[in-house]
């Protein structure tokens, strides 16, 4: 999940720190744009709000000089194919700022060195290709970095403050435009750490939005399970169902499916600790409702959990929801305590195979791939 604090919310926070931003407002339907034109006049900049970078280059930022252009731009960004693909839910309409010198200022985390880092350079579209000019490291609990350009120090201090207060992964303004010696932030974005709560009300935007009502239901039910926050689940559109747990095991399984040309129907990492069995049941019930050509259940060698206990849950859900005559190929790798009994139970399901600790995870996926091919 990529968590973002989108432009309007971050701009509002920056404005409270004295940073200049264009006048503007957020709308959620095309019907509202006429009112905004009445309020601010024309031209207006139409900016699609979604989890996508370099919006100008892909047509999600447009300048409207007339009301008909404004309506057409809003319609395209909000309701057109481009808007749907990029999960656009709203538009920011802003006054047009005259040309000037554009700068990029960002504050991010250097995960390897464990430092904050101030990034500065030429602003505007294409920053990924152009790269940054200067990189200044700083300790998160130490003195703040200072922008070499005095005109950009207020903006820089404001985004460093937001970076620390939000405990964000990244806060950036691009561009910040110099107009008559005044720095105006035209675009701003924060990438949040999923583990940190927002200190104030703000629109938190998850880049991987819940895609289906089944996902919504799963997370609603999960909310009442102890330790529920450790569940990671997403539907991915493929046809091999995964009931997996552990970040490492999940990565190995996903890689091997990719190597074998199979597409996962979902990602699942059940997390550990309290509520594990309840989450196993929840995810199993969700996965078996997906249109599948194969199903994999398992992880690395189990520690304290009984393989038989897990097998009982799987057996119950599969037998009940898929029926005892289903031909869906199933491979379970439940290696650990009681794995012999787990094998007996799993293999009582039709077309199901159990492997133990002696079979590497990748080989278990290979067996599923062969079974899917045969089926």
């Amino acid at each position: 999940v990529l968590d973002l604090l989108l432009e309007p919310a971050l701009k509002a926070r920056l404005a409270q720190r004295g940073v200049a931003t264009p006048r503007g407002t957020v709308v959620r339907s095309v019907d509202e744009v006429g009112r905004v034109a009445d309020q601010f006049g024309l031209p207006l900049v139409v900016k699609a709000l979604g989890p996508v970078g370099d919006r100008g280059r892909i047509g999600l930022v447009r300048v409207a000089h007339t009301r008909s252009m404004l309506t057409a731009a809003a319609e395209a960004c909000l309701n057109g194919p481009l808007g749907r693909v990029n999960q656009v839910r709203a538009l920011l309409l802003e006054e047009l700022i005259p040309p000037g010198q554009d700068h990029y200022v960002g504050v991010a985390i250097d995960h390897v060195r464990g430092r904050g880092v101030l990034l500065t350079g030429v602003g505007g579209s294409g920053i990924e290709e152009r790269g940054i000019d200067e990189r200044t490291e700083f300790e998160l609990d130490g003195p703040r970095p200072i922008h070499p350009n005095p005109d950009l120090r207020l903006v820089t201090d404001a985004i460093v403050s937001e970076f620390l207060e939000l405990r964000a992964r990244l806060v950036e303004v691009n561009p910040v435009r110099m107009i008559d010696g005044r720095a105006v932030v035209l675009d701003a974005k924060a990438v949040l750490d999923p583990t940190t709560p927002l200190p104030v009300d703000g629109e938190r935007y998850q880049a991987i939005a819940r895609q289906s009502s089944a996902e919504h239901r799963l997370f609603e039910r999960n909310a009442s399970i102890p330790g529920g926050s450790s569940l990671r689940y997403a539907e991915l559109g493929g046809d091999v169902g995964l009931i997996t747990w552990g970040g490492g095991a999940s990565a190995i399984v996903m890689d091997r499916l990719r190597d074998r040309g199979l597409r996962p129907a979902n990602f699942a990492d059940l997390g550990g600790g309290a509520g594990f069995i309840a989450r196993l049941r929840l995810v199993a019930e969700a996965v078996v409702t997906l249109p599948l050509r194969g199903l994999f259940i398992g992880s690395t060698i189990l520690g304290a959990v009984s393989a038989l206990e897990l097998a009982r849950v799987i057996h119950e859900v599969v037998a009940r929801d898929l029926g005892t005559t289903a031909r869906l190929p199933i491979v379970a790798r439940l290696g650990g305590p009681d794995e012999t009994q787990a094998k007996e139970l799993i293999e009582s399901l039709p077309n199901a195979m159990h492997v133990g600790r002696e079979t590497p995870l990748e080989s278990a996926i290979d067996r599923l791939a062969s079974a899917v091919d045969r089926a």
Partner: protein
């Protein structure tokens, strides 16, 4: 032989009265770990499995001196509690806690380094020196971790089990296995821990599991090239599937995501291989690689 943890290491359990900590304390003590005290605010005078509990790490250090801390902390309390734990000056602190904010993680790592205290984790399931001692959840299943001569460093706690099983299949067993943590920032990097294995006469080779994400492998490669680590290193790096998803997305471990080229699993494999590591593509290849490098007969996996 082992690194960091053996029968003599005196361990304090921070957050000792929580359910997971209690359960692990019982199992680990029975295994042989020398757990001398616990800490839980407001619980001074109580006991967990006959282990005395104190309000603070400072009180515990004064009454029941310890060498190391294993920390089970609520995420909201992590920064404050770890600051207090570091101030008690143990040799190292292994944080089990999952879901720590990256900013808190960085601040604590920096404070620990300035204080001369090693932090391992967070988001880890522990450490084990088979036959000697263990902390956290690692090694609860008997027979997976066999005493031997292969050090293990793993981004994934669960994968530590499979690596240990593979080492046993090679006929080698494990000296010390450490789940270094799955977060974007880890208290101790593989390169830092590799330096300890380099000095351990009981470790003949190291087995490493890495993932796409922040570049921890370049420093390992540099250690190999500089001759700072001359024992065989076998590495498995996963996370190619992230190429099929938006940059920056994370699915399992919070520290597994791709951005610049150095974060790709394929880049990491290439960097390690160029520096002389034996890079395997599957866990099934590990026993043969290890047994060949160590001149052991091994067994088919």
């Amino acid at each position: 032989m082992s690194i960091l943890l053996d029968r003599e290491t005196r361990v304090c359990v921070l957050g000792a009265t929580g359910s997971q900590a209690r359960a692990d304390l019982r199992v680990n003590r029975a295994y042989g770990t020398r757990i001398v005290c616990g800490v839980a605010p407001g619980r001074r005078g109580s006991e967990v499995e006959d282990v005395p509990v104190f309000d603070t790490c400072a009180e515990a250090m004064a009454a029941a001196p310890f060498d190391a801390i294993v920390a089970y902390l609520p995420t909201a309390a992590y920064r404050h509690a770890m600051t207090e734990a570091i101030a008690s000056r143990p040799g190292w602190i292994h944080a089990i806690t999952e879901g720590v904010a990256t900013h808190d993680n960085i601040v604590i790592r920096e404070l620990a380094r300035r204080s001369g205290v090693r932090v391992l984790g967070p988001n880890s399931n522990g450490m084990i020196s088979p036959g000697l001692a263990k902390i956290g959840l690692l090694g609860h299943e008997p027979g997976v971790f066999v005493p031997g001569s292969v050090g293990i460093l793993s981004r994934s706690g669960g994968m530590t089990n499979d690596l240990a099983y593979a080492a046993a299949q090679a006929g080698a067993g494990v000296s010390t296995a450490i789940a270094i943590g799955g977060d974007a920032v880890v208290g101790s990097t593989p390169a830092e821990l590799l330096a300890l294995f380099a000095l351990d006469p009981g470790t003949d080779a190291v087995l490493m599991y890495g993932e796409a994400g922040p570049d921890l492998e370049t420093a390992v490669a540099a250690a190999l090239r500089a001759g700072a680590f001359t024992k065989p290193l076998v590495a498995l790096v996963a996370g190619d599937f992230l190429l099929d998803h938006a940059a920056g997305s994370s699915f399992g471990h919070a520290g597994a995501f791709i951005g610049q080229s150095e974060t790709l699993a394929s880049t990491k494999r290439a960097v390690l291989a160029a520096a002389g590591a034996v890079v395997v593509r599957t866990t099934g290849e590990i026993p043969a690689a290890l047994s060949q490098l160590l001149g052991l007969p091994g067994r088919p996996y």
